[in-house]
Amino acid sequence: MTAVVTVSRRIAASAERLFDAWLDPKSLAVWMRRDGSAPSGAVADRRVGGAFAITMHDPNGSFVHAGNYTVIDRPHTLEFTWRSAATHQTDSVVRVTFRPDGDATVVEVRHELLPDAEAVQRHTAGWTEIIDRFARTLAENGDA
């Protein structure tokens, strides 16, 4: 079934620069890691269909996140499959978009765990809505 997680951040750098930092394994090793942990191990075959693997280290051990690139459209969109222990080693899809905004760029990560893109599209609104509402309810009631 379908769950969508969307996160965005406005960063004072060009879209090209951010895009490259996301695709270059040397850059990935530096920033794609748990806070305060050693640099990750990163390998990437930077072409559509190519595979990547990022080994992140955290206090509980090392975890491999792997996938294949499905869209490489510099400097607009990067899309890849993503599997890890957290996805039970099944493929999810991560789409990263880079939208220039003045002298900065809004980077948006959209992580879909899904049967197919259409189902996600159809269900996103309702899912987001109910999650927001329940998060509010839980916060108000102070219970979880």
Partner: protein, 122 residues
């Protein structure tokens, strides 16, 4: 929360009628027959939706005499929210790290390797 349990929760709330039923049960418990009356769908159809919600453990059924009373079980959704929150936090932290990374190398060397081994530091 197991992966299949999460799947059933997400499937259950993907339907607008079932979300409406959950919203209704947030206000108070209700009998199956009451729900069928309040929603523009048949008793049979209401029962089917309720079965899906029960399977996802979002709704509990208590039999009181001849009445089947339904109540909301918000914990199951809370677990789904917690699971999604983990992923949201994961990506928020990664984007913060990406920002720190590109801003630390303000010259904009595309190649991170060259950025650390040449230029200002030498």
């Amino acid at each position: 929360m197991g992966e299949y349990q999460l799947d059933t929760v997400l499937s259950a709330v993907a339907d607008p009628t079932r979300r409406a039923i959950l919203d209704r049960l947030r206000v108070s418990d209700a009998r199956v027959t009451e729900l069928a009356r309040e929603f523009p769908i048949s008793l049979n159809s209401t029962s089917k939706h309720i079965k899906v919600l029960e399977r996802a453990r979002l709704v509990e059924r208590h039999v009181r005499g001849r009445d089947h009373v339904l109540s909301l079980r918000a914990e199951a959704l809370g677990e789904a929210v917690a699971w999604m929150t983990q992923y949201r936090e994961f990506w928020e932290q990664r984007l913060a790290a990406l920002e720190a990374f590109v801003l630390a190398d303000a010259d904009g060397d595309v190649d991170a390797d060259a950025g650390t081994t040449s230029g200002a530091l030498r």
